[in-house]
């Protein structure tokens, strides 16, 4: 008996080795870390495309199912080719990690644009690409006009892209990026001390799985809540996708204003806030520790900041006679939540014109910009600089001022009970500087391409924070077609830069530069 068992084990081991050799080592393949990851990412998109195709096929309004299916087919082909003919190397130097992440997002946007382009919803490819980038980065700026009248499946594909985009970010932020030694995780560690708190599970892959489960659960819950408020299954699912991912796409021209329902807005606000909270906290709460929320200083700051801004903006709008008091508060809170979580939904409609925040009183608009910059919590689906970084910078500044007063003082920046180490402080400060610099340069470039001061500055901040609508000409009732074609190209780059937290996209450029310089040096030596 034991002999049989050991033989079986041996056979299994040999078989496993062979499979491993075939699938993982694959000595005949090109070693391309980037290609393999990109291929995986593309295959990942296919189920969503198929779902959209099915919905399009089932709906009676239009028949673009062939184009959607074709998009899926091309994506499958590209993904399978890449995964089959490339292989992943064991060791991943930082440069190729960033390259892999950046190229995955770029190619996913590219292939995500195909269904929109094939179906004719957006006739020029650059517009389709803009829509796809805005979708994959969960931004929510749209160039589709009018939205209603497009096939239901095509519209659902936009929503699904944002769902992918929202989660992709969390997985990147909490699993892949920190695993490779990039800032985010060390910050979470500081925020919530504990041996395994930084990852939800000892292994990164199971962390990712848990995050997906959590994300799926939240999406289902939002969809259910939306159905209770009276939305159809299609509407509920479509909006649940973009609420959980804090994206901002809606299959209606008036976005949430289409429903003109306080109940729907309340559910969406709750959904966006949940999406804007760290998924690590959600996980800990879900595994029986709901006090984790209260103990996180980032969570408290986040709620206080959003709440305070909402109250002030509501009062300012009310004082300016924009709408009556209940409606001012309704719009103020919706605006604060949708801008700070980088959702970007609009609740403006003919019945409720006060929801158009680009038409708010200037004082309230001036508060929206900092909210956009701040964004949600670290490790959430929201964009922006993140609350934790804002907190760290505020404390860093206080210590700096203290040092002016008492040059010899020993003062440290503390989060919760723990001191933040100097390298992390520098990282955070460097990222903030990078954000400020990018926003400044982007504002200038957009202005050079023909926009006015407010449109270009708020457009740049909105794109970098993956928010969606901006102020000025690009408000929530407007459309990104107000930007010229080259300006839309710049905005696409900004959305990707912001979504990947700056480094990935910039470093692809930097490392390419380094490589050419190294080649150059080698040539010189010869």
């Amino acid at each position: 008996m034991t002999m049989v068992l050991s033989t079986v084990r041996q056979v299994r081991a040999v078989a496993k080795g062979a499979v491993h050799q075939l699938l993982v080592d694959r000595p005949w393949n090109v070693t391309s870390r980037v290609g393999f990851v990109v291929g995986l990412g593309l295959l990942f998109l296919v189920p969503g495309m198929l779902l959209a195709t099915l919905i399009e096929w089932g709906s009676s309004t239009s028949n673009s199912e062939v184009s959607l299916g074709l998009g899926a087919l091309v994506t499958v082909a590209a993904g399978v080719l890449l995964v089959t003919f490339t292989r992943l190397d064991e060791d991943l130097p930082p440069a190729s990690v960033f390259a892999a992440v950046a190229w995955t997002w770029i190619s996913c946007s590219f292939f995500g644009a195909l269904p929109l382009w094939f179906s004719g919803a957006l006739s020029s490819f650059d517009n389709a690409l803009f829509e796809a980038v805005s979708g994959m980065t969960a931004t929510g700026s749209t160039v589709l006009s009018p939205i209603e009248g497009t096939g239901r499946g095509v519209l659902m594909w936009r929503q699904i892209m944002q769902w992918y985009g929202g989660m992709g970010m969390v997985v990147l932020a909490v699993t892949i990026l920190p695993f490779l030694g990039v800032g985010g995780l060390s910050l979470i560690t500081v925020e919530a001390p504990g041996p395994t708190s930084d990852r939800l599970a000892p292994r990164v892959s199971s962390t990712a799985r848990r995050l997906w489960a959590l994300y799926g659960g939240i999406t289902v819950a939002i969809a259910a809540a939306l159905m209770i408020t009276g939305l159809s299954l299609y509407d509920a699912v479509a909006h649940a996708f973009t609420t959980a991912g804090t994206g901002g796409f809606s299959p209606y021209d008036h976005s949430i204003g289409h429903f003109d329902s306080t109940a729907v807005e309340a559910v969406m606000m709750a959904g966006m806030l949940i999406g804007g909270v760290s998924f690590t906290l959600h996980w800990r709460a879900a595994s029986g520790n709901p006090r984790a929320y209260g103990r996180s200083s980032e969570f408290r700051t986040y709620l206080i900041a959003v709440g305070a801004a909402a109250v002030v903006m509501s009062l300012l709008n009310w004082a300016d006679d924009l709408s009556d008091l209940p409606n001012s508060f309704r719009n103020g809170f919706f605006g604060a939540v949708t801008l700070s979580t980088s959702g970007g939904f609009a609740n403006a409609s003919d019945a409720n014109p006060g929801g158009d925040f680009a038409a708010w009183t200037p004082g309230a608009q001036a508060l929206l910009l900092p909210l956009m910059v701040m964004g949600g919590m670290t490790g959430s689906t929201a964009g922006g600089l993140k609350v934790l970084r804002a907190q760290v910078m505020a404390k860093y500044m206080r210590v700096g001022l203290l040092r002016v007063k008492h040059p010899q003082v020993v003062a440290r920046v503390k989060l919760g009970q723990r001191a933040v180490s100097e390298p992390i402080l520098q990282r955070v400060a460097g990222l903030v500087a990078l954000y400020a610099l990018s926003a400044l340069v982007a504002t200038f470039v957009l202005a050079a391409l023909g926009e006015d001061l407010i449109t270009s500055s708020s457009g740049a901040i909105s794109a970098l924070s993956n928010m969606g609508p901006a102020l000025g000409d690009a408000g929530p009732t407007s459309n990104y077609l107000v930007f010229t074609r080259p300006a839309r190209g710049v905005l696409m780059a900004l959305m990707l830069i912001g979504r990947l937290e700056f480094f990935a996209i910039f470093l692809v450029v930097v490392s390419a530069y380094e490589r050419t310089r190294r080649l150059h040096r080698v040539k010189l030596r010869r």
Binding site: L369, V404, V432, S456, L471
Partner: protein, 434 residues
Amino acid sequence: MSDPSRVRFPWHRSAVRVLTTVVAGAASLVVISTVVYLASGEISRLDDAIFESMAGFTTTSLTVVDPEALPAWLLAWRALTQWLGGLGGLAFALVVVPAFGGQRRLSEVAEGRGRKVVLARTWSHNTQRVVSAYVGFTVLVFAAYAAAGMGAFDAATFSLTTASTGGFANYRDSFAHFDSAAIEWVGAGAMALAGVSVAALVWMVRGQVQALWRSTELKLYACLILGATVLVTAWTWTDTGGGADTIRESLFAVTSSISTTGFRTADWGHWVAAPQILLLVLIGMGSMAGSAGGGFRLLRAIEIFGIVRRELVMQLHPRAVVPVRVSGAVASEASLTRVHNFQILWVLAIAFGVFGIASLGGDMPTAVSGSISALATAGPGLGDLSGFADATVLAAPARGVLIALMFLGRLSIYPVVVVIGWGIGEIQRLRLRL
């Protein structure tokens, strides 16, 4: 003293004392000037008098009076407040800051950092150099204006407000009043030099080309002026008819902005948006550290660039040691931290300014450009503040916000915040004792 570039303060005081003296000194100058304006009877409202004095001593070109209705002696006083404000700013940056406690605090001065070329070795000698350079430059500008065809009184007042990067003019339409190409060329050149650090001016006079060439900041300053002039010229070529006039007007606008002076030759609000925003960016970036101008200062901008570059390189090579260099010398970590803090304070001040002005009646373009411009102690802006507009386009409470921003900007924010923090601490201690 091991480091020859370090200048020692003749007396030893705590940082808070020195900063309190600075803040109180600046405030008392404003009070004196306010009294002068009120006593003259030309300005009847207290808040207007405070605004005008504050704009004077902070070398901002925002005004609430009609200069053409003022008597000559008051115009002279107005110009003199700006000149004194510029001198005060220079003294603070070049003498007080590097000297107190024998330590280099606040990163205002970098011309001497890590370099053999220094202004002077003793505190009094340093002060002397700064004052004589400033006075000499003013006289030079006066001579140039007079040679270009200005009357003696105008040349005197305009040279005072040019050398200090102030921007007060004796006429409602600023430089357009003269309608003279020669005067505008001289004005553009003088403003460009006024934004250069005093140390670099001294090197220029002494012919120390090597020192000039080594200064990253000076090179950046020159490149920015050239590049921006080319861009503005290109953007406004068709609007303004092209030719030498367009080039001159562009250069004037660029130098007036980057040196944070604020003289105007035309209503730039009629241009397309792009050059206007470029000018606003230049105003925000501002002049060289160690000049009478304001703004974020190019030196800090260079350090921010270095920090960003380092951050990118460190992501690829996590263990690399990447120094941030300014003018060939490695910037200390402490100075980088200060730049970070300053950046945050700067952005916060603008955010508060935008919120304040917007909620007190200005529209968004006016609020954004007005806060940046006031904090940089320049003056011109977009929206309601474009063209030859003065500060009266804003309601009195919104002008109060501008007053605060100008004061913060002139004193590089730090001293004011530290002194306020110290004051709050003292009050709390007092209450505890009671």
